[in-house]
Amino acid sequence: MSRDLRRMRGRVAIVGAGESDEHGKLPGKSAFALHAEAARNALADAGLKKDDVDAVFSAGLWMGSETAEYMGIRPRYVDGTQIGGCSFIAHVQHAMAAIDAGICDVALITHGESGASRVAMPGTRFGADSWRLQFEAPFGLAGPPTGYALAATRHMHEFGTTSEQLAEVAVSTRKWAMRNPRALMRDPLTVADVLASRVISWPFHLLDCCLVTDAGGAVVLTSAERAKELPKKPVYVLGTGEASTHVMVSQMPDFARWDAARMAGERAFAMAGIRHEDIDVAELYDAFTLVPIMALEALGFCKPGEGGAFVANGRTAPGGDFPMNTNGGGLSYTHSGMYGMFTLVEAVRQLRGECGERQVADCKIALCHGLGGMFSAAATLVAGTEVP
């Protein structure tokens, strides 16, 4: 850990967070409309105007500049880093560095995705001579459920993780969603319900898989000095990390261990200078029930293979001693396709005490952890209400 990274702890803050006005199935709104709604709401939350923004971050080819054009922003710093659903958490690290270096003052990180309705979605098709089309698609890789299932089978084989343990993640997450009026899935859910839902790609059942929705989210960052002049309580960036180990699932170095998460997490915790038990709330990307289990292991909350036991008995549900995915997660709240943004928005709201019935008591330090690709990348943020 370089001294420079420690030095950056708490120098930059998240000062605004917002989401699209609505989310779910929205065929009347383009991906860019969702960006704009979220950005307007995040800027209003920050007490800032569009013209205050001088840096735009969004995930995808041309997306930093395309979203800026759509919103009528002419940034002097643009970042389109696309490492999958965790991109926005990585953007926080990039924005922190740029703000601290004096390259920009107000960073807008924006996400909008018409994941269900596919209106004005940026292109994601790969050519027939791409590595994916040559070495994976010919074998019927049918999107994320099949790819992640390969890791799930191996995790079960090496560690004895059970379908019941996977289901427990969905059940505990649903209990948080039932306390969130904005969550899309709010009916009670049992382990038996998850196991009875149809198999998509064994060992995943339908209810092991996240939602597919249209949604947007945005956060605004600036220096800690400027944050003090703004209306809401600053959420300080205390630790950050990102890592990438592969893209195609067939290139995953270890199917039972999420190496990128370990790398990102180690750096974020070291920079923040906190212990695991200091985390009051964890927002862990949950595209599939397996993902938070492997995150808990990789981030060091438990040993490799112990993630299934860690989440048992409602430990991560309301009333448990490890509040996790308190908005209802990608499994029950929303999942546009790149869910990482929503871990940031929920962490900000928890740290500010804005979460009503689902508020975690005395919430001072939050962990956001995102997933990219097929366990390909990861990004981690430790954020807090004070600089320790």
């Binding site: 089309l133 040559q134 070495f135 019927g140 191996r154 998509i200 064994w202």
Partner: protein
């Protein structure tokens, strides 16, 4: 040959020898003469040592199942009927590759991680044969 409805790979200069060998129903990998390791998928430089002295070598076509999934909701237009099995096979020479398991019941209880498998090629067009694996 009947029209094949699945994705058919289009080789690039660095992958063409792999697909040319596959058309002959041979599994061929790059072998790095600098570090001695095998490379898959094919590349212009070894991902282990970054050496560029890579020689094509016909390999055994044998390996073991490293992990798998049984797909119930398949890729649109994919010609194998559901359920079908996607597996990661660890080749005897080291590299892992994605493939399908054939000649085995698509039942998670019938497929064992570690089970020995061998390559079998399916001609999907005049130019392309896909390497799939069956129990050895």
């Amino acid at each position: 040959m009947p029209e094949y409805s699945g994705p058919i790979p289009v080789p690039t200069p660095e992958t063409r020898p792999f697909w040319d060998a596959a058309r002959r129903h041979e599994l061929s990998l790059q072998h790095c003469r600098t570090c001695g390791r095998y490379v898959y998928y094919p590349r212009a430089a070894c991902p282990h040592c970054f050496g560029v002295d890579l020689a094509w070598e016909r390999v055994s076509g044998r390996g073991t199942v490293h992990t798998f999934t049984v797909v119930q909701r398949g890729q649109k237009g994919f010609p194998l009927p559901t359920p079908y099995v996607i597996a990661i096979v660890e080749l005897a020479e080291g590299p892992r590759l994605m493939t399908n398991l054939v000649g085995v019941e698509p039942d998670p209880a019938k497929i064992k991680i570690g089970m020995p498998v061998e390559v079998v090629f399916e001609d999907v067009s005049a130019e392309v044969a896909l390497p799939r694996f069956r129990p050895a």
